[in-house]
Amino acid sequence: MSASSSPEPVVTINGTAYPYEPGDTVIRVAHRHGIDVPHYCYHPSMSPAGNCRICMVEVVGSPRPQIACKMACFPGLSVNTDSDLAHEARADTMQMLLVNHPLDCPICDQAGECHLQDYSYQLGSGRAVTSTPKTKLPKNQPFGEQIVYDAERCIKCTLCVRFCEEITDTNELSMGQRSDHEQVIMTSAGEFTTRYSMNIVDLCPVGALTSRDFRFRSRLWFMDFVPSVCTGCARGCNVTVGARMGKVLRLEPRENQDVNQWWMCDAGRLGYKHANSATRLGVPAVRDASGAWREATFEQAIQAASAALAEHRHEERPGHVLLDGGATLEEMWVARQLAAALGGEARFAAHVGDDGDEFLVVNEKGANARGAEALGLARVKNAADAGAAVLVIERDEHVPADLRAASGAVVAFVTDASHVPDSVRVAFPFGSFAERDGWLVNVGGRVQRLLGTGEAGPSAVQPFQAVAQEILLDLDAGHDVLDDAALETRLRAAPGLADLVWPPASREPAEVSS
């Protein structure tokens, strides 16, 4: 090993020397280098509590195992994370944690992503050594409106308490009682003042804190999870979308130190409901001569839309395309071309709130408003400017009823059938954020990938960019139809977009093609 000759300080883990920075703890260095050290109460964003005792490692020369989450590195320190002593210490801790645990995994929603399950499988002895009656503690206690606390499942790691103390500084939670009756307690008002409360559900390594919203909705192993981006506001928090059988069931934050660290706000987390609306438009619809809607195939609808738009072009009405501020760059790009063919321009509309804070929530609610501006799309603020031939709407709040009605559009791409204004003659289903693929630019100018899951939404929705390019072909025979990979290449090089922070290209070519 280069331990002795190296100028920078090193710590030896499992016989290999790793460099560390002043103030590093053993667990940080280990995790940085991909060495697994199990942990419950440790979180990289918070002060170490050192109370779960599962991260114990062997310190060479010490007869007793030490906790890695609080052990500061010093030159010459040598630890083993994989020795008999470390394994024994962890198995012992698992045994202690399970002695009063209700073991109600069939009922518990954490089953499948529970660290108690994982670690007892990996580290535990797999054998019950006692049939001692378990301590009874309160169950099913509401913590605010969205969270349910079960003190019996709780392992008292205090992550939730520390989150409210150290991250949000709102102190709604504390530990109460003592000894084996210790439990998390809430303020007597029983309400969270923080808008980030539901992060404690993700933080909870066991099933003690569960979300009222997701509770009992589905087993995790039936669900499909995709890494995506929250479209609740322009922050673009990285999330994991979980869906099953046509419904989005859960959004959970995904770590991204440049955007949202580990967190997301409650509003964003619960802002998926429109994707599960009972009035989702599932198939294209065309208004017949009597004005009644009838279902159509995409081919029929595209023909009808082309005809309606060609007619629209002849009348001297604005041939604009009005987009939802949450539309992707691809959709905006194609909308711009469609608008050009109609003799108008692409514009966007997005809600601006007044609830921004210094943490994650921003006032701009259009998830891609920054991208729209970079593409040169004008912003429609009031009904007087709303005139358009084509509408593309995902969320009601971005293109509200007055804008829709004032647009006089003849073709609409909508997520929800109730969003179709009276003037529209052809309506296409538009995917929600959970069903579309594309790039969004967040408020900081970072381009992030929105990724759809096949498990959410109606099954037959076709992407806007594919449908719109078909219409374009009908309107303007010389148009080249681009697949998403080709679109991405153009977007990356486009003026206004090329300077933004793009992730490396990862898209497999021709994922979506017309």
């Binding site: 995994c105 009922i107 099913n140 009992f216 589905s218 039936f222």
Partner: protein, 170 residues
């Protein structure tokens, strides 16, 4: 076509066989003989077979001694079911007397047209709530009737007394 054709030689019937009378008489003889033997036909559905232990009939849901549903909608049977015959929608159960059981099925369907009677659901159930019954006569006037819903399953299952035994000694 290059398939080979194999010609099968058939023995021609004899004269007696072509008459059919001896065969008819032979058959009548069997019928007469049976008239004096023990009857084996059962008057189904009034009469039923005695089903042996271990028989895997229709899967059913059971209730405990006090008539409370045992199923907690953990969905393990749904997961394990090879033909995907089980469909469960869980819901929260608000029963203060059993605060530790917070969950039960809102919908529990077993599609008996799909069920292959493998018994894996019974094997997987951690709560001993689903059993392979001895019910073998399943019928319905429509396909929909053969999708057993929660009520049907509980009715078929009835009450199964005694605590959970399968984890003893584990």
């Amino acid at each position: 076509m290059s398939a080979k054709v194999k010609t099968v030689h058939r023995t021609p019937s004899t004269f007696l066989e072509r008459l059919y009378v001896p065969s008819v008489l032979k058959g009548l003889g069997i019928t007469f003989r049976r008239m004096f033997q023990r009857k084996v036909t059962m008057q189904f559905p009034e009469e039923r077979w005695e089903v042996r232990e271990g028989y895997r009939g229709a899967p059913v849901l059971v209730k405990d001694d006090e008539g409370r549903p045992k199923c907690v909608a953990c969905s393990l049977c749904e997961y394990v079911c090879p033909p995907k015959a089980i469909y469960i929608v869980p819901e929260e159960v608000d029963d203060a007397s059993r605060a530790h059981i917070e969950r039960g099925p809102a919908v529990f369907n077993i599609n008996m047209l799909r069920c292959i009677f493998c018994g894996l659901c019974e094997e997987a159930c951690p709560e001993e709530a689903i059993f392979m019954s001895k019910e073998y006569a399943l019928w319905g006037a429509s396909r929909a009737e053969l999708i057993h819903d929660k009520e049907t399953l509980y009715e078929l299952g009835g009450i199964r007394a005694g605590g959970i035994k399968k984890w003893k000694g584990k």
